[in-house]
């Protein structure tokens, strides 16, 4: 029996990636993401995962003792990729650049959708995350605040906007970047969501609209017209 499991594992790995060695851990994560993206976190089961990979459940729990640990590992993968995106923030920031950052971010959210939509969807899981010290969003929240500073410096924010309004807009922008994918799964059919990603990037950018200066609104209007005319080239999502 163990020999059989092993051979089917090797077969599976060989089919998936002919050249590169994929570790079992990596394989588990990839398949889990596929399953979570289609069925959600609550219905995701280690047994189903094991069967679909031709592994024994024990093989999985050797790497991840609970399904939540898989979710956390995927969430951390997502945050790492997201971190790479926001690191390309420079002092040259303008509205178009910010749109591009938001666009990369929403495509990333789409790739990890099952995990991203589930963020703080279960009180028990949330509490355990807190107990395990898995609070790692502060850095990104701080970066979202830096976006406001840079836009202000470069003349994209209305001079009359008060501190409260700027702080509020930053929180708004952050929430839109994180949860507009959830909105999409309620507002559109599941099949439509992929084609809506450019619009969703615009939606998170729109959170800033109340504080934009005329110069900022002009750039926003230009992006809006191109997105609604479906005129952005290469608009297929990153896989």
């Amino acid at each position: 029996m163990p020999a059989k499991t092993k051979s089917s594992t090797q077969k599976h790995a060989a089919v998936q990636t002919p050249q590169e060695e994929v570790s079992t851990r990596e394989m588990i994560l990839r398949r889990s993401l596929e399953l979570i993206n289609t069925k959600g976190m609550v219905d995701f089961r280690i047994d189903t995962l094991a069967t679909s990979l031709g592994l024994s459940p024990g093989n999985i729990t050797y790497h991840f003792s609970r399904k939540e640990d898989i979710c956390v590992a995927l969430w951390e993968q997502y945050l790492e990729e997201y971190g790479k995106v926001v690191r390309s923030l420079t002092t040259l920031l303008d509205i178009k650049q910010l749109y591009l950052l938001n666009r990369i971010n929403i495509h990333l959210n789409y790739k990890y959708r099952g995990v991203v939509v589930f963020r703080s969807a279960d009180l028990g899981a949330m509490r355990r995350d807190l107990e395990a010290g898995r609070v790692n969003e502060d850095e990104h929240f701080a970066i979202s605040r830096r976006v406001m500073t840079l836009l202000g410096q470069n003349g994209y924010l209305e001079k009359s906007a008060t501190k409260e309004i700027i702080e509020g807009t930053h929180i708004y922008h952050y929430i839109m970047m994180r949860w507009c994918i959830n909105f999409a799964y309620q507002a559109y059919t599941p099949e439509e969501v992929e084609a809506k990603l450019d619009y969703l990037a615009l939606m998170s950018l729109h959170a800033l609209y109340p504080t934009l200066s005329q110069k900022g609104r002009d750039e926003f209007a230009e992006i809006l017209s191109k997105v609604s005319a479906d005129n952005l080239s290469g608009d297929r999502p990153v896989k």
Partner: protein, 266 residues
């Protein structure tokens, strides 16, 4: 020896039913003892009184189950919710519960239906021709307070891909209905002189979508920062945020009303 250890372990569990003993984070196993250590069949006085009071008030067992389940889920979330825990908190047998609801998913669905009905009843008629910015705040706030009363179930329905996909059609209808109501609200605010019309239909749609996203998912963001008991305290801040989207269109009268709301953002 082993019995001694067992009693020692059980005691803190009994004393600390609300805060279970510390252990490695993870979903509790099905074999974990329910909060009550009383043998099954011996009904606690408190639970019996609750049920008697409910009976006198004309509350059916079904309603009682839904209410208690909601209370438990608001503390534990849907993943850790167990029929056995619910049964022991009501001093009913698990079979009593499964007679009404065969699976825990059925209880969760019933709570969700109740939330939707309560939300409809409390908010449907709130947008009147008298609408101003403060009333709009109150309207959004009433809806948010209802979501807090059902926080365990709503965060699940708003955040699990399985639930989102299963309920997609119902959600699309809700958002459609929300758009009708909020667009009518914008029109009334314009008529009453608090707002200029949003001329560009695409920007009008974006404004609605942004407000909707904040009003539906503020709880999820709040839960990454605060424990769930603090939700009522931080709610006003997020509702005020949702109104930020209207700032570009407010008239002088609208801005005066918004000035007192903006203080809530701090």
């Amino acid at each position: 020896m082993s019995t001694q250890v067992k009693t020692q372990q059980q005691q803190p569990q009994e004393a600390d039913a609300v805060n279970p003993p510390k252990r490695r984070p993870g979903r509790p196993r099905k074999t974990d003892k329910p909060a009550s250590t009383e043998p099954r069949g011996v009904k606690s006085e408190a639970a019996r009184k609750t049920r008697l009071a409910a009976k006198r008030a004309g509350t059916s067992t079904r309603e009682l189950i839904i209410a208690s389940a909601n209370e438990i889920i608001n503390r534990t979330g849907v993943v850790d919710f167990r029929i056995e825990t619910l049964a022991s908190s009501l001093s009913l047998s698990p079979g009593n519960i499964t007679y009404h609801f065969p699976k825990k998913e059925d209880i969760i669905a019933a709570i969700w239906e109740e939330y939707l009905a309560v939300l409809r009843d409390t908010t449907e008629e709130m947008i009147t021709p008298l609408l101003d910015i403060k009333q709009l705040f109150l309207y959004f706030r009433t809806a948010a307070a209802k979501a807090i009363s059902y926080v365990g179930v709503t965060t699940y329905y708003f955040g699990d891909m399985g639930a989102l996909l299963r309920e997609n059609e119902a959600f699309r209808r809700q958002i459609e209905r929300g758009r009708e109501l909020v667009f009518a609200g914008y029109d009334t605010l314009v008529e009453n002189g608090y707002m200029k019309p949003i001329e560009n239909p695409e920007i009008k749609e974006l404004t609605f979508d942004s407000q909707m996203t904040m009003l539906r998912w503020w709880i999820n963001h709040a839960l990454t920062k605060y424990p769930e008991q603090d939700l009522p305290a931080v709610m006003d801040k997020y509702i005020a945020l949702s109104l930020l989207q209207l700032v570009p269109y407010l008239t002088e009268a609208g801005k005066r009303q918004f000035a007192s709301i903006v203080n809530l953002i701090k």
